[in-house]
C-alpha cells in the first residue's frame, strides 16, 4: 500500500490541445480523484457584447473556438434572429446546416487524429489529418476561410454555394467516405487500439444522465439526446434522424460514436444538397433588439449541446450574451471517469470528452 500523492497534469501537456489543469490524487498508479481547474485562456468575450454592436459581435462569437467556429457564429446569429423576430430564408438555413455538418466532420476527424496520437499511433494520426485537410479545402473554396469563415450574418448568410461547388462538395465527401471507412476499420478493429480503449473510463448510463452529459460523450453512455433530433431549421426537413448511440460507456464507445457520426454527417449533407430550395440567402435586418427582449437557443456542436442566451436593451448593443458550452457540461463526467483509472489511461480519458477549453472559458 503506497501513500497518496498529488500529480499536477497540464495545462501544458503533450496530449492536450487545450490548457486544462488537473490535480490527480494518485496512489499505487491508480487515480483516486481528479480535480480540474480551468481559467488559463479566459478572454472576457461575453463582456465584449456591450461594446460591439450585435452585428459586429458575430465576428467575436465565431472566434470563441477555432474548431466549432462556424457553430458559434450560427448559434449566435440564430439567437439574435429569435430576439428580433427575424425569419431567415430557407436556403440560408440549409446553407448554414451544410457548413455546420462539414464542421462536424472536420472536428471529429481532427479528434480521431488526436486520439490516435494519444495512444501512440502516429501514422493513423497523419492519415486522419490528411483527410481533414480536404474538408478544409472545401471550406476555403466555398467560404473563403479555412477555419474562421465570417460567412454567417444576422439575417442569413453572406455567400451562396453554387451548384458546381455543391457537386464538388458531394464528390469530395464521397471520396472521403471510402478512405475514411478504412480508417474506421483501424480505429474499431485494430487490437492495439482496442486494448488501449475498451473498458477504460466507463461511465454508466445512470451517472451520465445524472451529470447531464451531452454530445458524443453522453451518447456513448446511452444518453439518447442530440439537439438535431429536435428538428430546428433544416434538420426538420431530414427524412429521418436517429442519434448515434452506444451502450458500452467506455473510451471505445466514444470513439465508435464519433466514427459513425462522421458518416451520418456526410449523409445529412447529401440529403440537404438534394433538397436545398432556391431563393434568397439573406433578409435585410432593421432596427435593434427591444428593451428586455430575451431569447435562447440550443445547437448541437461537434462536442454536444451548446446553449445560447441573449437579452436586448433597445440599443444596437446587447445587454447580455451567455453561452453554456458542451465541455463545461462534460467536465463533471470526466472527473467521474477518471476516478479509479490507471495513471497511464488519464490522457486517453481526458481526450475522449474532446475538451474544448477555449469555448468553455471564452
Amino acid at each position: 500500500m503506497g501513500t497518496a500523492s498529488v500529480i499536477p497534469f497540464g495545462p501544458q501537456h503533450p496530449v492536450l490541445p487545450e490548457p486544462l489543469h488537473l490535480d490527480l490524487v494518485v496512489e499505487d498508479e491508480v487515480v483516486l480523484e481528479a480535480m480540474p481547474q480551468i481559467g488559463f485562456v479566459h478572454r472576457g468575450l461575453e463582456r465584449l457584447v456591450r461594446s460591439k454592436d450585435y452585428n459586429q459581435f458575430l465576428y467575436v462569437a465565431e472566434r470563441i473556438c477555432g474548431i466549432c467556429a462556424f457553430g458559434h457564429s450560427m448559434g449566435y446569429a440564430e439567437t439574435v434572429e429569435r430576439l428580433m423576430g427575424i425569419e431567415i430564408p430557407q436556403r440560408a438555413d440549409y446553407l448554414r446546416t451544410i457548413w455546420h455538418e462539414m464542421s462536424r466532420i472536420h472536428s471529429h476527424i481532427l479528434w480521431l487524429g488526436l486520439a490516435a496520437d494519444a495512444f501512440g499511433f502516429e501514422s493513423l494520426f497523419m492519415h486522419c489529418w490528411r483527410l481533414r485537410e480536404r474538408v478544409l479545402d472545401l471550406f476555403e473554396k466555398t467560404t473563403g476561410g479555412r477555419v474562421i469563415f465570417s460567412v454567417c450574418k444576422v439575417g442569413g448568410v453572406q455567400r451562396d454555394i453554387s451548384p458546381s461547388q455543391m457537386s464538388e462538395i458531394l464528390a469530395v465527401l464521397d471520396g472521403l467516405r471510402d478512405e475514411y471507412s478504412q480508417l474506421v476499420k483501424t480505429f474499431l478493429g485494430d487490437s492495439s487500439v482496442y486494448s488501449r480503449t475498451a473498458g477504460i473510463g466507463a461511465i454508466p448510463h445512470k451517472d451520465a444522465v445524472e451529470l447531464s452529459m451531452v454530445g458524443p460523450f453522453g451518447r456513448a453512455s446511452g444518453v439518447n439526446y442530440d439537439v438535431r433530433m429536435l428538428g430546428h431549421g433544416a434538420y426538420g426537413d431530414l427524412a429521418d434522424f436517429q442519434p448515434v448511440l452506444s451502450t458500452d460507456c467506455d473510451c471505445y464507445a466514444r470513439m465508435e460514436v464519433r466514427c459513425a457520426e462522421v458518416l451520418q454527417s456526410i449523409d445529412i449533407i447529401a440529403e440537404l444538397a438534394s433538397k436545398i430550395p432556391a431563393g434568397d440567402i439573406m433578409v435585410p435586418v432593421k432596427g435593434n433588439p427591444a428593451v428586455d427582449a430575451e431569447a435562447c437557443n440550443v445547437l448541437e456542436q461537434p462536442r454536444g449541446e451548446c446553449y445560447y442566451y441573449a437579452k436586448g436593451n433597445g440599443s444596437k448593443y446587447l445587454d447580455r450574451m451567455r453561452m453554456r458550452t458542451p465541455t463545461s457540461q462534460n467536465l463533471a463526467g470526466m472527473t467521474l471517469a477518471l476516478k479509479g483509472c490507471d495513471l497511464a489511461d488519464v490522457n486517453m480519458i481526458i481526450l475522449t470528452i474532446d475538451p474544448c477549453v477555449s469555448c468553455t472559458e471564452r
Binding site: 452585428n55 465576428y59 499511433f121 473554396k141 465570417s150 480508417l183 478493429g189 485494430d190
Partner: protein, 198 residues
Amino acid sequence: MGAFKLGRMTFGSLFKKPATVRYPYETKPAPPGLKGQIAIDPAKCILCGMCERGCTTGCLTVDKGSRFWEIDRYRCVQCGYCITICPKECLSMLPSYAAAAPQKTSERFEVPEKPGRDDPKARERKAVQEAQERRGDVPAAEVQPVQVPPTAAEEARLEALDGTVTLKDHQVEDLLRLMDADRAAHVRNALGDLSAPR
C-alpha cells in the same frame, strides 16, 4: 480484431503523390473566393467614415480633412463587415494575402476630389442616411459643446501676456486660479440671471 489494419493505406501511400506541397518552393493556388485582404477603389469612396465606425477591430481610419483612407492590415481580421456596410460599394476582398513585413505599418490611400455639378456634401449626407436606414441605425444626436465666452478680465490678461512674458511655475498656477475664479463668477452671474426670483 487483429493488428496492421492500416497496412493497405500506409503501403498504398508509398506509391501515391505526396499529400503536401513543398512550401515555400511550391504554393497552392488560391481559390477565387479566398478572403485575403481588403482593397479599396478610392475613386468611388466619399470618405463618409461608415467603414471606420463599423469595423470590428477598429483598423480603419478615414480622414475627411486630409482626404485619405487608411487600413492597418496587421489588425484587420478579414471579416468583411466593412464591405457590407460601405454605402458606395467601394470596398472588396482580394484573394491574395497581404505580404509579411519587418515593420507594422498602415497602408494609406489618397482619395481624389470628385468633380460634379451637384453639391458633394449633400450627396454624401444622403448616402450616409440611406446606409444608416438600411442598417437600422439611429444617427447619434449632435452634441453641442457648451461655449463659455472669455471674460473681459481674462482677455485683458491674455493680451498683456501676448507671448512677451516668461512665467514661473507658481505664477502660471496663480494665473490659472484667477482665470478659474473669473469663469466661475461668470457662470454664477449667468445662472443668477436665470434663477433670480421674479
